[in-house]
């Protein structure tokens, strides 16, 4: 199947119009020495039916979350996605469009992005947002670069409460701009504020924290706000789960300067790590430092309201090497998903989803605490995730639960933490019955 619709006869007509006899003549500029003199070593093309067979055969060797009861989170959350989300984004005028270069014929995409930006501002308590970045990791990377540009300083203080993968991406991005990273250890699952305070100095560009953090814990934001704002013009970068912000005091209230994060939790399929969307929000005064596209409202010739990509002089196609970022293609369709999801949930729905996830996580944690030998490490406030230690090796626990069709959580030994344990996440999708299954499986281990 090749999706070419010119017939042989039409091809002849076209060759004649061009004034040649063979298609190959069109490639005559390619020097013979480099022309590929054999067919590509790629399997013969397939019909639709065969293609489905081939891919399903592979798919069947996976174990999907539909067949398992999953307590995995760690930045990627298995929330229920209302049916209308996929129906609406499957409208071809949305998903087969390019970046909205011709605004007058792209009002659908543009208005949706404007609504997306608005809702991100509502959730984060910030003044403006961009049209999306590539994922939570790259958004964290872009945020530290932006903080470096604004402050003209080089030191980035990074809490280890920030997702290890985001920290890794931020270091990759920052190292090429001469940024230096200081990581702050955790005490139990909270950022060590004494250590943080010690690191704050004249060279500090920004402090980066996660809210709720990688372990689900909610940092002492009031104290952090005090520490950071006492320093001279240090930017506070908050990496936040936007769904949790339906419930939690928005980072804008804690004087955050840049808020970024992973928008997957807003209606995006779990999809083995991508495509998701990075979001970024900030204050008005930093708008010219913002990376990525921004949509603004304006009016047309007749005074009718319409939307355009605006403030583009920040971007690569105009400012080239002096652009605020190289980003071009972003995650527009994923941002559309987030917009539809947030519209559907609305003011109450987001509180319910976040609230139920939180209540269920706390229910499970409290019950686990009562099992001898098991501990919940998170002190104080946490959202829908917690760190669990067991009387047996984490590996054994995971294996035991997997035998019962449960993914118990994430073994954090693969990361750079002093602490060991299992990171457990509960969303609104988990039923009481499943929580009980989890508990009885732990009891057996004990």
């Amino acid at each position: 199947m090749d999706y070419i619709s010119n017939t042989e006869r039409e091809k002849e007509v076209m060759l004649k119009t061009i004034g040649i006899e063979q298609i190959e003549e069109l490639f005559s500029a390619i020097p013979e020495r480099v022309v590929l003199d054999r067919p590509l070593n790629i399997p013969t093309g397939l019909s639709e039916l065969e293609l489905l067979r081939v891919t399903k055969e592979k798919a069947n060797r996976n174990k999907s979350l539909e067949e398992l009861v999953s307590f995995l989170g760690a930045g990627v959350y298995d929330h229920y996605i209302p049916s209308i989300v996929d129906h609406l984004i499957s409208r071809a005028e949305f998903y087969t469009a390019y970046t909205p270069y011709q605004a007058e014929l792209s009002q659908g995409t543009l208005q949706a992005i404007y609504e997306y930006q608005s809702m991100i501002c509502e959730l984060t308590g910030m003044e403006l947002a961009n049209a999306s970045l590539l994922d939570g990791g790259s958004a964290t990377g872009e945020a530290v670069l932006m903080a470096g540009r604004i402050s003209r300083k080089k030191k980035i203080i990074l809490s280890k409460g920030v997702h290890p993968a985001y920290r890794a991406v931020a270091r990759t991005y920052g190292s090429h701009q001469g940024l230096e990273f200081k990581e702050i250890e955790l005490v139990d699952t909270l950022t060590d504020l004494a250590a943080l305070k010690n690191e704050l100095d004249e060279q500090t560009a920004a402090v980066v924290l996660q809210y709720p953090n990688f372990f689900g814990s909610i940092e002492l934001m009031d104290e952090i706000k005090g520490l950071v704002s006492a320093g001279s013009e240090i930017l506070l970068v908050v990496v936040a789960n936007p769904l949790a912000l339906g419930l939690l005091t928005p980072p804008g209230d804690f004087a955050a300067d840049i808020v970024v994060g992973e928008g997957q939790s807003l209606g995006n399929t779990i999809s083995y790590g991508g495509p998701y969307l990075g979001y970024m929000a900030t204050r008005k005064k930093y708008v010219r430092h913002l990376p990525g596209r921004i949509v603004g409202a304006t009016s047309d010739l007749e005074g009718k309201r319409g939307y355009v990509m605006t403030l583009q002089t920040r971007e690569q196609h105009i400012r080239r090497e002096k652009a605020t970022s190289n980003i071009c293609t972003n995650q527009a369709l994923n941002a559309l998903i987030a917009t539809i999801y947030l519209s559907t949930l609305g003011k109450e729905g987001i509180r319910e989803v976040a609230g139920q996830s939180l209540a269920k996580a706390h229910y499970l944690a409290e019950r686990i605490k009562q099992l001898p030998g098991f501990k919940i490490i998170n002190p104080g406030n946490y959202f829908h995730e917690f760190l669990l230690t067991a009387p047996c090796p984490v590996l054994d626990l995971k294996k035991e639960l997997y035998r019962k069709g449960i993914i118990a959580g994430l073994d954090i030994s693969r990361f750079d933490y002093r602490q060991e344990g299992l990171l457990v996440c509960v969303t609104e999708k988990r039923t009481k019955k499943e929580l009980e299954m989890y508990l009885s499986a732990l009891e057996v281990i004990n």
Partner: protein
């Protein structure tokens, strides 16, 4: 294309009006016409010091952005605050209300390195 007699010009299309040890600086009619409608102007603060041809600000239209370079060394006395809300003044009145900064000059001799009206007009013809 207006080129007032009393001004001096640079190859980066800035103009200077020298009055004693002070100078007013802006961008030329040619530059504003090339750039199109200005949407944003970024200027230094009073007290900032620059050496000749240092970048001191940025002007933006919808589709273009340009750094502006100081024609003569000196200390900024005043930046045109009305441009922050009305960047279009640079289009409407580049030699008047669209001025960018006033500077106290530190190197009077540098004046000799700038072009007068005729020289700038010839320069524009060459680059066209």
């Amino acid at each position: 294309m207006r080129l007032p007699e009393e001004l001096l010009y640079t190859e980066d299309h800035e103009w200077v009006l020298v009055e004693g040890d002070q100078a007013t600086i802006g961008i030329t009619d040619h530059a504003q016409a090339e750039m199109g409608d200005f949407v944003f102007v970024e200027l230094p603060e009073a007290g900032d010091r620059f050496n000749q041809f240092d970048q001191f600000g940025v002007v933006e239209s919808v589709k273009a952005v340009s750094d502006v370079y100081i024609p003569l060394s000196g200390e900024v006395i005043e930046a045109n605050q009305s441009l922050l809300d009305q960047p279009e003044l640079c289009n409407e009145d580049p030699y008047g209300r669209g001025w960018l900064i006033k500077v106290k000059l530190s190197e009077q001799t540098e004046v000799a390195s700038l072009m007068d009206k005729e020289a700038y007009a010839r320069f524009l013809e060459e680059v066209e």
